[in-house]
């Protein structure tokens, strides 16, 4: 079982996300995370899919995506040749006996404090997904109130861009 990151360039139209996720659902692809965002062009949205499977399943995923008329390019992003990051907000309970430890950990991870009240504190962390996982694991020693993650986004290193490919 491998973990793949695929970037998918789709038409920026109503219902396209539904078409993509509907295909994943009915073909039972094992999707770990999925993000959708605007791009440099108003014409396109970019979907980043984190997918677990073997090489044959990955090829099927690419082939099935290519059949969707709204998909205009697909790129398999290798960890060595791409940059990825994710944004997380985490809300912790604010108690006198744990406050300092939490603040120290947040500082060590480079998390920003974006909200602070008597009862709670919210940190924002932008990092790769593994690092975010590590921070969450550390926080499990204390009282986590809420977590919200965006899912990973990725771009290739260097000047290359997601290539336009034609579909049938």
């Amino acid at each position: 079982m491998n973990r793949y990151t695929m970037a998918v360039l789709v038409s920026n139209k109503f219902g396209v996300l539904n078409r993509v996720t509907s295909m994943f659902r009915r073909r039972r692809f094992n999707i770990n995370a999925l993000t959708v965002s605007e791009t440099e062009s108003a014409q396109y949205s970019r979907i980043t899919v984190i997918f677990e499977g073997d090489d044959i399943e990955k090829q099927q995923l690419v082939n099935q995506l290519q059949k969707l008329p709204d998909v205009s390019a697909i790129r398999d992003l290798e960890p060595e040749t791409s940059v990825s990051c994710e944004l997380m907000l985490i809300k912790m309970e604010n108690k006198a006996d744990t406050r300092d430890e939490i603040m120290m950990a947040a500082k060590a991870f480079g998390a920003q404090t974006v909200d602070y009240t008597r009862e709670s504190m919210v940190f924002q962390l932008t990092a790769d997904s593994t690092k975010i996982d590590e921070f969450i694991n550390l926080m499990r020693d204390y009282e986590i109130l809420e977590i919200c993650r965006t899912g990973s986004i990725s771009l290739e290193k260097g000047a290359t861009t997601i290539r336009k490919v034609t579909n049938l």
């Binding site: 539904n18 044959i56 099927q60 082939n63 008329p69 049938l168």
Partner: protein
Amino acid sequence: MLLSGADIVIKTLLEQGCNVVFGYPGGQILSVYDSLYKYKDEICHVLSAHEQGAAHAADGYARATGKVGVVLATSGPGATNLVTGIATAHLDSVPMVAITGNVATSQIGYDSFQEIDITGITLPITKHNYFVGDVTELADTIREAFSLAMSGRPGPVLVDIPKDVQMAMCEYTPAPAVVMNEKLPAKDKRLAVAAKCINESEKPYIYFGGGLVSSGAGEELIQLADKIDAPIGCSMMGLSAIPTDHPRFLGMQGMHGKFASSAAMNSADCIISLGTRFNDRVIGERENFNLKAKIVHIDIDASELSKTITAHHNLRGDIKKTLEKLIPLLDEKTHPKWQKEIDALRKKGLEYEDKREGMTPKNILELLNSYIEPDMPVATDVGQHQMWAAQTLKFSKSRKFISSGGLGTMGFGLGAAIGAHVGTGKKTVLITGDGSFGMNLNELVVAVENNVPLVILIMNNGVLGMVRQMQTMYFEKHYSGTVLGRPTDFVKVAEGFGAKGERVSTLDELKTAFDNAFSCDGTYVIDCAVDKDEFVLPVMSAGGCTEEIIVESGEFLK
């Protein structure tokens, strides 16, 4: 030219060379029907009894002609009634454009009367679908729908048009008919390695399916087989692509296929697969499939390559174009030893054939063979009669066997037969069972109203035979829900609908009935008695795993 959205629908259909649509009117498609009235000299509308029948008719039209079939329906129940028809076309890769009306855009999302999210419902059963929210996009959307339906691996496309968009006025600029995306052969590099693999083979076997029919590559297939001295078999969807009596053709393979073709594929050392997808009905359990063979898989749809069975050589391309480039790369060969083996399999297969006399399914259909002319489309429904027809009927021209393969839709046949006649103008035959016919026999009104020269052979055994057969074999004869026991008089039904009918129970009577039916200009129903214990044989499991073949029903019926 300033036109209403509805007029633009008809104008763009006419642009595409579409001069017949199947459908059923309703409140939210009224404007399009008004335009049909206006353009009735240029485009003909065939009114069905039920939208499902219209969808099957558009499908049958497309299968018989290779052109895009068009179906119209209103919103809500009109649209949902199309669903089985669209899914049937989707599973068999049939080019179809379904146009549905919907409530006005201002009412969308309010659960208005007869509002349904048909683009949502048909998402997994169409190649693509559109909701047209703006009349300025209407003409290009319909053009794109036609292009998509035909291009690559064909399939159904749905266009949902709200009522206000049909009524809105818009400048219409005529355009030429859309053309299919260019058909490309597989890549040279891949062709070269595939050719090497085929050249090294001692026991090549060609297995084809519906993709070969879509590509129109029957001649190239035979050239290929002649050059490398290979036997040929096909899935049910491939039937009629090459003449049934071609000396290299071993027949349909798979679960109820010919012994020789299934066994030959199982002992081949190289399987050349053309436009087919190694479906479970053909290969049985994946694990038991012939793993010794090298597989060369050619298909226009890349997602079919190595989907079910991992092929050694995956070639994505149009079959005709790919074969045109592949054949010159192949060595001319003879394989006398392999052919001897094939002859032995053929002989063994003949031993398994049903040799009984009297009113057996095989004899009934053999008799029908003597009436079927090369240009006549033959449609079927789904069940035992379908398999008997697939095993027994003889074809000499492509696109003459019209049957629901992938979805296996009972009730498909009558609508499809009507569509096939409308498309070809030829006398058409429908082979059905009492179960399947009962599902959509309301479409008889359409056959009669349009004076369709249609011979309907109901193989009437009073049971849902295919399911009952499985109950006999695997469920200790617990005939749950499969004994019909209906007193339906199909002759009177036919007469009630305005058709002619006749009941037969012997081969002599059947001959007379065929004489009457095939000389009749209109629709003729033959209610033909078949014994309820007749089996579809052979039953093969696991891809021609010949040790497990069942050739007799006797032990099950004890």
